[in-house]
Symmetry: C2
Subunit: 538 residues, 2 copies
């Protein structure tokens, strides 16, 4: 950019076609405006940005065909950038990985698994759910990937805890646990309110409204005049479910009315799981692509163009050359090749990238080493019969436990079909490492032995086959996600938000949606904007 006129012309062009958001961030990049508090709405680079300014699109080499790499290529290619992706695996998606019959994987310990799932059955080994507010859904819309509800909450699935007193080892339906906890909470708060214990916090009108709310919220009894002990009592509710269902004629149903005793419910720890469902990221409704999470990856692959992606391309070195970047990689068959481009966007996980030779600067290498990879794992258990639907009336959803399997997921697709894949564990940290240390056969045995305690022997006898993944032992990933000990401005994390020469970094690890695909998409958009702004400003 050589003169104010040129600069103004560029800003006008961007402003006209891109709206205030990109104009503002471009001004910020040029030092003409303070950095925005909130990122402006993303505005994809456009071919007209080049035609209107007489610039030519640049070439960009993208390392990794996970969601961040694919999204970067997709957005840049839309504007006419020449993109090339190098991907070490033989498929797109990275951790967005749907395991189907025929999938073969050898882990870092040399253990090879071949999935034997039946047609139509799959395991989303990585991301498996999408919140309504996430940009991931916007990409599904744009790419034409159909979505369906993911059952992240189900009144009829279970809580199951060991070593928690009287209710240890007792599967409790979500609806029972919530009815009892909400019932007792309401009874206790109503009693305290009515006896005046909260008069410092509540007006008389507040009190009556609160009591009315608690009666409905907890399904508790009314005030009994002159008898505080008999007032506001929780004695069970048909919200807990029925021993005998309501039916025809005089069959009003026999509710499972008797609640678990208050002390037992408190000791059981079931309540510790409730808030999961209130989380901004986890509250229903949530979604998944029809047919497997990798439908997103394959849709991006198609949009980018298969010819722009080199699979089985393992990066050996990365060099800033001053005028561009040069990347050495081994292609299919092991032959060494070199790719060059004007810019590079590297989406390789920090813990993997740190081990690849490069002339990246020392602060960047230090920042990469600062990321802490997390252990996480899943097993898919294929059953010959959907006993959870047929016998237990559980149509998708999650059972939570304090066993080391952590959670069991019932499939959110293929309802009423002949078979189904249950996620037999989804855990992280120490629990994940316990499973990772086992052979695939032993992981299955451990998960099944624990599941039998909840669902009975059919959990073993109806099993056909399984496939497990331990992400920290998975080549090219070496972790489920990373965490940052701190993310202060000017710190290690911040270093990776800036390019190192002509190399940019992207991935969910560079977002506040770590462990979500949304983070990868958001990071890609940020890098695309930064790179395009630089190209437009040069």
């Amino acid at each position: 950019m050589t003169s104010p006129t040129t600069r103004r012309q560029f800003l006008q062009a961007v402003g006209v076609s891109g709206g205030a958001g990109v104009l503002y961030s471009t001004m910020a990049a040029l030092g003409l405006a303070p950095a925005a508090q909130a990122a402006p709405a993303f505005r994809a680079p456009n071919r007209s940005d080049f035609t209107l300014t007489g610039r030519s699109a640049k070439s960009v080499l993208i390392l990794g065909a996970g969601i961040a790499g694919l999204a970067t290529a997709y957005e840049l290619a839309k504007a006419g950038y020449r993109v090339q992706i190098l991907e070490a695996r033989n498929r797109p998606g990275g951790r967005n990985w749907t395991v189907r019959g025929g999938t073969v994987e050898t882990d870092l310990d040399g253990q090879t698994q071949r999935a034997r799932f039946s047609g139509g059955q799959y395991l989303n080994a990585g991301p498996a759910r999408i919140a309504q507010h996430m940009v991931t859904l916007d990409y599904c819309r744009e790419l034409g990937v159909p979505v369906e509800v993911f059952g992240n909450q189900n009144a009829d699935s279970y809580y199951f805890n060991d070593n928690v007193g009287a209710l240890s080892g007792h599967p409790i339906r979500h609806r029972e646990a919530k009815a009892d906890v909400y019932g007792y909470v309401s009874e206790l708060l109503a009693k305290a309110t009515d006896q005046g214990a909260l008069d410092a916090h509540l007006t008389g009108e507040d009190k009556e409204r609160l009591l009315e709310f608690l009666r409905s919220f907890g399904a508790i009894g009314p005030r009994v005049a002159g008898d505080p002990a008999a007032s506001w009592r929780y004695t069970g509710t048909n919200r807990r479910g029925y021993e005998v269902e309501p039916g025809a004629g005089f069959q009003a149903g026999t509710p499972k009315l008797t609640p678990y005793p208050l002390s037992d419910v408190l000791a059981s720890g079931v309540g510790r799981y409730f808030s999961f469902e209130f989380g901004y990221d986890q509250a229903m409704l949530m979604f998944q692509p029809v047919g497997g999470m990798d439908r997103i990856a394959y849709a991006l692959e198609e949009a980018v163009g298969r010819r722009h992606i080199s699979y089985d391309a393992e990066v050996r070195s990365i060099s800033n050359t001053g005028s561009g970047v040069s990347v050495v990689y081994t292609g299919p068959g092991g032959r060494t090749r070199t790719a060059t481009a004007d810019f590079c966007v590297c989406t390789i996980p920090p813990q993997v990238l740190a081990k690849i030779p490069s002339n990246l600067t020392e602060p960047v290498r230090t920042a990469l080493a600062y990321a802490v990879p997390n252990a996480t794992g899943k097993i898919g258990l294929q059953y010959r019969r959907r006993w959870w639907e047929q016998d237990e009336k559980i149509y998708s959803g999650i059972t939570n436990t304090n066993l080391d399997l952590s959670a069991i997921w019932y499939p959110s697709y293929g309802f009423h079909g002949a078979k189904g894949v249950v996620v037999g564990y989804y855990n992280n940290g120490a629990n994940a490492r316990t499973y990772a240390a086992l052979s695939p056969a032993d992981r299955e045995a451990r998960a099944v032995a624990q599941g039998v305690r909840i669902h009975g022997e059919k959990y073993r006898t109806e099993l056909e086959t399984s496939f497990s993944v331990a992400w920290e032992r998975t080549r090219y990933s070496e972790g489920g996600w990373v965490s940052w000990p701190s993310r202060t401005t000017g710190g290690h994390y911040g270093r990776l938000l800036e390019p190192d020469g002509r190399v940019y970094f992207a991935g969910d690890h560079l977002s506040h949606y770590i462990a979500w695909q949304a983070g990868a998409f958001e990071s890609a958009r940020k890098v695309v904007t930064a790179l395009h702004t630089r190209v437009m400003s040069s």
Copy 2:
């Protein structure tokens, strides 16, 4: 049945092929066992019941091709009964009615509507959701009707109340309302607990566990040593949502942290809606058939055989003839015909049946008049754009209000499509009668004017077309469902559970799942069992 030997042979045959349940109920019917508390598991009549006992199957005339009539025909036909259904409408399903483009309906006031919905768009005018535990899903499985999740709960839809104080006319996301109510409830109960107000009810261990639970449940602060006022405070949580979403880089997001004041939240009445989602019938997950609720009706029609159903057949009289039944009806074109059979199962709603000439006994006619029909209505609003997904990130679910529209439903199908049908009101009682009294155009205008208050002008400007139904003004139904002032044994309700001569009665109104298809299925099963037991016993 003429001898103990014959009776024993029959009981053995039923016991062997049907299991203990049907044996027990058969014994009860024969007076050999006390009436069962709980109904035994349904066992469909089987052809072998006839071949094993040398009996021949009877003919059964079924009045009404709603779910009760279709299910009756389906179960009886499986066993070889000769079935014929007379249906006044020109389609199966009764109140299970999916309105699509081209649907034409003239109501009892002579108002004709023709639906102009686009291809793939529909309104389930009657039943629209199925709980996991309902027999309706078993029929979907058996009939091969694919199902998908119905969004009966959504953290991102709204509560909207008028005349409730400071929050009047203010759309509040479900997630905000729950976070604030759970937060304040937790703060208040924690304070009361910690100050000893509940020591009569809680042990020291209970108290610590309760406080730990409340911290997570309400997202409240910790105990502040020596400062009760500063302890356990609810000051907001990111569960409420974000002003600016979390994103890439340093964009941690800006949560909508500030809660609504306690008094305002209590006055707003948002909490009165919470317990809906805990109900045995309404708790998620819930389901719907892919492509419209009438997929169940059409699957039953196909299973029964189209040739066994006479449409446009309006019943004019019903007669017990001693040895059978005789029904006069007008066929297509108005010609009067007479159908006869060994038995009749009448599924016509009581308020409609009461007006049809018959020689039914006086107690039966009195019982029919005892049912109280309920008003209920819906409108389907087709929008040219799915603004609730695109602009508000609401993917299905329900907005609850205290306006007379009562509830707005966002569609649970066609996500990301070009158009969508929103249920603009679903109400009953006085609210439904308010809408029923209007012309279809005025219903649309009223629903839209109220919806604009929640969603803004796009609720009007993006609208393409609508179709409304008022069930109490709908021919052949004359109500959404009925209620019974009482259901004592030996009372009017009980009279209809027994046949009148050779005429049996079935429908959701004769079940404890009134207003649910499950009630129609359960009632059909009960009548099928009773009728088959009689045939097998004669």
